[in-house]
């Protein structure tokens, strides 16, 4: 077989892509007259050397795990869900509605109900594009982009006209009741003489995200549905021949995808802001694309990629605080990661394949 070994495909190609993205990012930092080594040290210092830094890093990681899994489910079914952002916005609406209007006795109950609400609202927002793709052949990429904008308009309307408390100026809901506020890492791990994670937003939803990774693995590689989704991604005609309905797979995959994006809102609304604000998603829906590409749509890869982006996000915030490098540096890095691990994949892969073929011949 003139192919690379599996380990090279799974590990080496992404690593080289990330290395290329990192080198280019360093050049960008140099070009705007800053020192990339100092910048990196500052990012590590701010994101990883203090427990509060970790608290922020893991908070962002939680978001990116959910949106990464969201993009990955769609990738497995050979669809490109750019709508994670909109689905997360609408998911947030679901969380806000249950938190504001149901009097919960305890946060555990609130969390369980909110998980269902967030997932259902996110899935519902993915349902229409999924139906249109499956039944009417409208391209899911375009419809999900359009639904992002529609979601933003819907959320804007609901926040400004319906859920905004009387007299408040900013488009946001009232504060959620005390009983629905999730315990943060500070509540869970800090003791009187060891104040860990002080003031940082990481909360119990992080563990939910890790659970979601495990569930994702189980679904994709240990259930019939996961097999059907992956088979559909490989060959639609084969799936049809095997008697699996492409319409059902398209819709179910997108529902799962949208539900995962919606659950991201648990972290940002119940976990952090404790109310629903207009820009709760902060572009995390799009970062999920980078995370899924980098993690090769595998839960372990997604977890690591989400951790990396969490680090970048928190580190980037530190940079913006202490240096003249604006936060947009992270957007550039994100773009480079998407470019190299996604679009320019062949640029890295083709020379590597040739190299392995050449090495293989020598051995034989």
């Amino acid at each position: 077989m003139d192919k690379m070994p599996a380990w090279a495909d799974a590990v080496l190609v992404p690593l080289i892509s990330i290395l290329l993205a990192a080198i280019l990012s360093a050049l960008v930092i140099l070009a705007i007259g800053e020192n990339p080594v100092e910048a990196f040290n500052l990012m590590v210092e701010g994101a990883l050397m203090r427990s509060a830094g970790w608290g922020y890093t893991l908070y962002y990681t939680t978001n990116f795990i959910f949106t990464g899994l969201c993009a990955a489910v769609a990738f497995h079914a050979k669809m490109f869900n750019i709508g994670g952002e909109g689905q997360a916005m609408i998911g947030g609406l679901g969380v806000a509605l249950v938190c504001l209007f149901i009097p919960f006795p305890h946060w555990t109950v609130a969390l369980l109900v909110a998980i269902v609400a967030a997932g259902a609202f996110g899935a519902l927002w993915a349902l229409i594009p999924a139906y249109l793709q499956a039944k009417r052949g409208s391209h899911i990429v375009i419809t999900t982009i359009m639904f992002n904008f529609i979601a933003s308009a819907v959320l804007n309307y609901v926040l400004v006209n319906l859920l905004r408390p009387q007299g408040a100026m900013d488009p946001a809901t009232a504060r959620f009741p005390e009983a629905t506020q999730l315990p943060t890492f500070q509540d869970m791990f800090a003791t009187a003489d060891n104040p860990l994670f002080r003031g940082s937003p990481a909360n119990v939803t992080f563990f939910l995200a890790v659970l979601a990774c495990v569930a994702f693995w189980f679904l994709m590689w240990r259930t019939r549905l996961g097999y059907e989704i992956r088979a559909f991604g490989h060959s639609e005609s084969a799936v049809k021949y095997a008697g699996i309905s492409p319409v059902r797979i398209t819709i179910v995959a997108m529902l799962i995808s949208g539900g995962l994006a919606g659950m991201m809102a648990l972290n940002t609304t119940m976990g952090e802001a404790e109310r629903l604000v207009m820009n709760a998603t902060e572009g995390a829906g799009f970062i999920g694309i980078a995370v899924a590409l980098m993690g090769r749509s595998h839960p372990v890869g997604i977890f690591l990629a989400a951790l990396l982006f969490g680090f970048l996000y928190q580190g980037g915030a530190e940079l913006a605080l202490w240096t003249n490098i604006p936060r947009e540096l992270i957007t550039v890095i994100q773009a480079l990661v998407i470019l190299f691990t996604g679009a320019l994949d062949n640029m890295v892969r083709m020379p590597l394949e040739r190299l392995f073929v050449a090495l293989g011949r020598k051995d034989a």
Partner: protein, 321 residues
């Protein structure tokens, strides 16, 4: 609503439709050649920044325009490298370009001008002045037609007229020249073009080049015509509205004009009136904001006509061996 108000709304429709139209035609050339381009937004943004920055530094709007075209073309070249040369996923490449432009513009603007990611306001020669067409003032007093000529048709910057002239020009290039025939063929059936001994890669790069040029014009108009200077994310989703208009127009230049004017009108109305009161029913401004996208989804769903993209769009061409 009196006649003058109507004219003012239509006048701002023309202004707001111009960047949409240029970007839409840019996408038209690209997608007709089989290269899907969701990076219109990013290219426009890069061009807007480059044109505003160079115009601010040099004081010449023409140098700014040139810089805008160059930067959008560079983004196009990147898209071509990823999606034509290395046969990568065109959608992912487009997404990457959008983020690249969104990040780099603010990063460079902050580094050059230190004004929080914006360029200094453009003055005098740094902007495209509005052009008063001949006899506009003399004919102003002619009833009905006079104000229409003086307010609506006259008094735009040169790029507006360029954009509207691009519509017949694009139609002529695409449907009346050999190059246009080949370009459309490569989007429908690249293997046939290849069999005829014409370079698929060459044609697609040519199409992407035109796309870069037009996006450059669109971005430059945003920063130096419509507004005076660059601010972060100033394209504000126009690239996606242009994409929507392209689908709405079913990948045809003249339809693109109407689609862009319609979406421009929606923007103009949303800009002028916050909430529209239609005798008891109030239409909130958010509905106007979302309407282009909703209309596009309805068109895509095939309930009103059917939008069929060029057959080979989105697929990299692999020569058979």
């Amino acid at each position: 609503m009196d006649f003058m108000t109507l004219l003012q709304v239509l006048d701002s429709t023309v202004r707001l439709a111009t960047p949409l139209l240029l970007a839409c035609l840019a996408g038209l050339f690209s997608e007709r050649s089989g290269v899907v381009d969701i990076g219109l937004e990013g290219k426009m943004l890069a061009a807007a920044f480059a044109s505003a920055a160079i115009a601010a530094v040099s004081g010449s709007v023409w140098l700014g325009l040139l810089a805008g075209i160059v930067s959008a073309s560079l983004m196009s070249a990147l898209h071509g490298l990823a999606s034509i040369t290395f046969r990568g996923n065109q959608l992912i490449s487009g997404v990457a370009i959008n983020f690249l432009a969104s990040g780099l513009t603010v990063l460079i603007a902050q580094s050059w001008f230190g004004q929080g990611g914006r360029t200094p306001s453009l003055m005098g020669g740094g902007r495209f002045e509005s052009i008063t067409l001949p006899f506009a003032n003399a004919l102003r007093d002619v009833p009905v037609l006079g104000p229409i000529y003086a307010e609506l048709i006259s008094g735009h910057s040169i790029l507006v007229y360029v954009a509207f002239l691009m519509v017949p020009l694009s139609w002529w290039v695409l449907f009346r020249t050999r190059f246009g025939l080949r370009l459309r063929a490569v989007g429908e059936s690249p293997e046939a073009v290849d069999t005829a001994g014409i370079s698929v890669v060459g044609l697609r790069f040519a199409a992407i080049g035109i796309c870069g040029l037009l996006c450059g014009l669109a971005g430059a108009y945003l920063a130096t015509g419509l507004q005076a200077g660059f601010v972060r994310e100033m394209t504000a989703g126009r690239g996606y509205i242009a994409l929507a208009a392209l689908i709405f127009a079913k990948w045809r230049p003249v339809y693109a004009l109407w689609a862009c004017l319609l979406f421009g009108l929606l923007q103009a109305v949303a800009l002028r009136y916050q909430n529209i009161d239609l005798g008891g029913i109030t239409i909130p401004v958010q509905v106007m904001d979302a309407l282009p996208y909703i209309l596009t989804v309805i068109i895509l769903a095939g309930f009103v006509g059917k939008a069929i993209p060029p057959r080979a769009s989105g697929e990299p061409y692999v020569k058979e061996r």
